[in-house]
Amino acid sequence: MKIILRDFKKSLLISLWFMFLTFPLVVVRVNTIENVVVWRWSNLIWVAAGSFFLSYLWRYMLARRNRRRKIAEEGVETRGRLQMLLENEQLRNRVLAILLALALVFPLVFDTYQTNIMVTALIFVVLGLGLNIGVGLAGLLDLGYVAFFGLGAYCYAILNHNFDLGFWFVLPIGGMIGCLFGVILGFPILRLRGDYLAIVTLGFGMLFRVIMENWETLSSGPSGIANIDRPGLFGLEMTLAQSTTYIYYIMVALVVLTIIVTNRLKNSRIGRAWIALREDEVACVAMGIDMGRTKLSAYALGAFWAGMVGVIFAAKTTFINPASFTFMESAIILSIVVLGGMGSILGVILGAFILILLPEYLRAFAEYRMLIFGAAMVLMMIFRPQGLISGLRQVYTYKGHKTHVGVKEQPINE
């Protein structure tokens, strides 16, 4: 009874606090031109009631989360059911196979619109996987990743527009240009750590946009480049629906390629060096790992994928302008990686689908969708801070004297 009363009092206070907090913005609306003040008192009632009930929910969820965390600290098995299932390699492969099969039949079942947004989602899957190399594996926080994406897109747009080069020819060039610029930009900033790196990369992202806006002769400035060719298939004429499906399959293939390559990289010599660097720079260098080269390779490889997928993006929209490559895109890509679970490939895929498809399907909420989107980002971080699926890590266990070394994968416990 006492607890109920206490909770009630707490919620009442919270409700009063939010009434105070939202009062000027939600209740008052001034129109200084016609000199009227509109008092929207009914809104206050909504705020009061809403915050009162949400505070109950909030407390309950937080308590549940903390309970779980405590159990985790005591060392009891706490990986969620999903997580445990995923650790079963056989099952994981089966899940991946089913996903792939679903992906392959998708355009046959759904209409062009659905396929089209799915292409956007897949583009962000590859971007997420690319950024995951830098942020998730090597721990290099990059807030300007969109610059490489834009570089690839402009690379195709310009080459296609001026020299009439085809999609397939430019695709690898886009990747390599991204990679090249990754190295060039990576060099001066290798010494920087953590958040300094973040702000410099943020700067790069903004610089890219400014340069594209001003360098008329190269990029046709703010009005952008239109009528970029869609990918060709032996000169076949394709309708919009057909070419959307075609791009979709190209994207599926690229996603599969990215998954295979990043997965192999992760468990390679250089991949382990990245993870080591992320965990402890000093110890890592002491072990004889060349820090500069390792960091640079992570940065450049991440940029490679962004450049490549940029080419596909340009071919898909057939129109690009500098406004398509803003900080918001970088933030979304970063959110995909963190939300999905850093270092985890499956997590990144899931994160991309949620963040890209959520606003699309939230269209029903019209003007509220960005509000809900923002709130969802905060809530997901609070209730699943390690991401949806935490990264799996190779663990080598020494079992007794039999000199048998078993390989098992365990989630990273942050």
Binding site: N43, T112, Y113, N116, T120, S223, A366, E367, Y368
Partner: protein, 371 residues
């Protein structure tokens, strides 16, 4: 919370629009534009215009005896989202589209409509190549193009104002940059005035006092600005603060009541081009009245153009007697229609004939038509 009540209202509204659509065989009208994000103020009035027209038309029995159904898509003026929205509208099977708002998004989406054979009419996309390049035979607009505006502004300034040195600024966006480029071109062709500065400013920056100082230093007597009203009002406010007396000339994006309200006394004496004042037309008055009584506010940017575009599209279907692409396009090009922007039809390229621009000057806090 407030959001929920608003949500209910939105749903109700959507429902009330959607109900007639349940009846089979409707005329499907797509509406696309920015309805959220920072450019929402430019998209929402046109969307509401379409809703008003459609409600009215449906009450009067619809088009060709069929009810009109609205399909509204938000694309935030983002080209990539615009292609998604366009694909969505195409899969929904719309017959005609009223939109998009921004030139960039329009350009990105137009190819999709062209392939699907859907006529598109924008109330606001003023980028000249959209019609002049001839690449988009399915595109129409109820607003005049940028080059026409720039030329009008420059001609007016050269003829009526004492212009010797001109500074041109723009907001680096496709619209503002276009206006500035065409203004430079028109000035160079006309001769007589010297261009002393041509530069872009960052939209949304905290202040523009440095570039204003630069304008003063160049000794410019005229400042031509291509862009929208938020930056324009900042520019004129700071010109006043810094005691810079150049004549301010700008475009349609600035000829907005928000410019007058925000800039206040600093706006006095500024010039802007914009669609001719047609508030004496009964149809125009009726449209504005309908907006006021429904939404309790003054209609914003591109409301009349959106209203006109919706009317023109529905009229074309009515006159053509079918929703067939060729017939509708043909009827758009041949049949005159009365709209809030005047009695219009469209030329071969898709620009409206009969839509004119004028130069306005701010006198005592209101825009006054100059010619």
């Amino acid at each position: 919370m407030k959001k929920i009540s608003m949500l209910c209202a939105t749903l109700l509204l959507a429902f009330s629009v959607a109900v007639p659509g349940v009846a089979a065989d409707t005329i499907k009208l797509g509406v696309a534009g920015p309805h959220s994000g920072d450019l929402a103020p430019y998209g929402i009035p046109a969307m509401r215009a379409a809703q008003l027209v459609v409600n009215q038309v449906n009450e009067q029995g619809g088009v060709l005896g069929r009810q009109v159904e609205l399909f509204i898509q938000d694309e935030q003026c983002n080209p990539n989202v615009a292609t998604n929205a366009a694909t969505r509208l195409v899969s929904d099977g719309v017959h005609v589209v009223m939109g998009h708002i921004c030139s960039g998004a329009t350009r990105a989406a137009l190819g999709i409509y062209r392939e699907a054979g859907i006529p598109v009419m924008s109330p606001s996309a003023t980028n000249p190549p959209l019609t002049q390049s001839g690449e988009y035979p399915n595109f129409f607009r109820t607003i005049a193009s940028d080059d026409m505006q720039s030329k009008l502004a420059v001609d007016y300034a050269l003829a009526n104002l004492d212009v010797k040195k001109v500074a041109i600024l723009h907001d680096r966006g496709d619209y503002g940059r276009g206006f500035a480029d065409f203004a430079r071109q028109a000035l160079e062709e006309a001769g007589g005035a010297e261009i002393v500065l041509f530069e872009g400013i960052t939209p949304g920056a905290m202040d523009y006092s440095s570039i204003i100082q630069r304008v003063r230093r160049t000794g410019a007597d005229t400042l031509i600005y291509g862009g929208y009203h938020p930056e324009a009002s900042k520019l004129v406010t700071q010109m006043q603060r810094r005691r810079v007396n150049a004549t301010f000339i700008s475009d349609d994006g600035v000829k907005d009541d928000s410019f007058l309200n925000v800039a206040g006394s600093a706006a006095e004496g500024a010039y802007a081009t914009g669609p001719r004042d047609l508030s004496h037309l009964p149809l125009n008055q009726a449209a504005v009245q309908a907006y006021r009584s429904t939404y309790g506010a003054e209609p914003g940017a591109f409301f009349q153009e959106g209203y006109a575009a919706t009317l023109a599209l529905l009229n074309a279907i009515e006159k053509a007697g079918t929703t067939d692409y060729d017939a509708v396009v043909n009827s758009l090009r041949t049949e005159y229609v009365d709209t809030p922007v005047g009695r219009i039809k469209f030329d071969d390229k898709g620009d409206a004939e009969g839509v004119g621009f004028s130069v306005f000057k701010v006198v005592d806090g209101v825009f006054v038509e100059m010619n």
